[in-house]
Amino acid sequence: MKFLDPRVHRVLDGEEPRESLDLALRRQVERLDQAAALLASSLEQASVADRVMTAIRRPAPAHTHRFIHWLVTPRAIVLRVRPAWSLALAAGLLAALLLPLPESRVALREGEGIAQFVARFPGAHSVAVVGSFNDWQPESTRLEDPDHDGVWGASVVLPAGAHEYMFVVDGERWIADPLAERFVQDDYGRENSVVLVQPARVSHL
């Protein structure tokens, strides 16, 4: 669909004066200007300020406490490991997690599971997982590499279901997990990996 003269784009991008166009092209510019002005000026909408301020005056969810509680209280989980080479690592981790202490109790909420993200990025200084569950914010969920062996991992409590995600390496390289079971094309032409989180078997002891 290319029926707009390039000069129209240049004028709309402020690279050329409007007067440089003939009447027909100037009409197209004016039509787009008019559409933008209508979209910009005609909206009347109630403020969400009260709703936002009410929410932020409440204490933030204690994610740290919840995570620590999860660490010391083994429970049924779903383990997700991506790279094939790290299956042995995953198996060891899985065994450790599924051999709970005798007094173990399930403390996950109904409808939640745990996704374990493991990936190998030798030489990386930081790795994060971003996805629909954290609004694609690289600062939200960082992976750790305590052994400095290039194997990065993180456990994340997520609602059961499908979640799109990518890895962000060193804050700038967005990388889809090549060994994810599923991929999906997003609305912006990028390919995201998909993790399927099953609800944990919550027991009430």
Binding site: K2, A35, A36, L39, S42, E44, Q45, A49, D187
Partner: protein, 182 residues
């Protein structure tokens, strides 16, 4: 911020991070209208836009310390709300948007003018709704929110050449859609 318009974004952010939660109201008043407008144009629904903006602003407050450059707070907020919109669109069966049914209530003193304007707006909204989400976002950020391509890149995480291409295609598609609906 221009002189006389109150504290800068960086000053407000520093105040909030120092513990003055109520100062976040300044941020809301400053950017809420544009964010609501953007979200409404992306989602086609005032209610869905209000949800996206409210959730986005709460998330922004919670993660305010991670805003590395408070002088670019505006584009950072747009990026958060854009992600909320993206998640909302992804939940829908198709990427298309459904427009609110209720037209604006006309002012009795200028009914004719208002109705004509409402009809024109409805035409433009229908044409905008026909664009793909990436073209719609590009057009709205560029021409409705008045962002530069550099600001758009910060708000979307996309490269400037990609955004220029989307804006160009959006203009062409919008003009064509306007011709079809008129």
């Amino acid at each position: 911020m221009k002189k006389g318009e109150g504290p800068s974004d960086a000053e407000v952010v520093a105040t909030i991070l120092a513990g003055e939660t109520e100062a976040f109201g300044i941020i809301i008043r400053r950017y809420e209208p544009g964010l609501l407008r953007y979200a409404t144009r992306m989602l086609g629904s005032r209610d869905a836009a209000a949800d996206a903006v409210a959730e986005g602003l709460v998330r922004a407050y919670r993660h305010l310390a991670s805003c590395r450059d408070p002088t670019r707070l505006r584009t950072w907020l747009y990026r958060i709300v854009a992600n909320r919109c993206k998640s909302e669109l992804a939940r829908r069966p198709t990427a298309s948007i459904s427009l609110d049914d209720a037209p604006p209530v006309p002012d009795p003193e200028s009914v004719e003018t208002t109705l004509e304007r409402a009809e024109q707006l409805a035409l433009v909204e229908r044409a905008l709704a026909q664009l793909s989400p990436d073209k719609r976002e590009a057009f709205v950020l560029k021409h409705v929110e008045g962002m530069s391509y550099e600001e758009m890149a910060a708000a979307t995480g996309e490269r400037i050449p990609t955004l220029k291409m989307r804006v160009h295609r959006a203009r062409e598609a919008l003009l064509r859609a306007l011709e079809e609906v008129e």
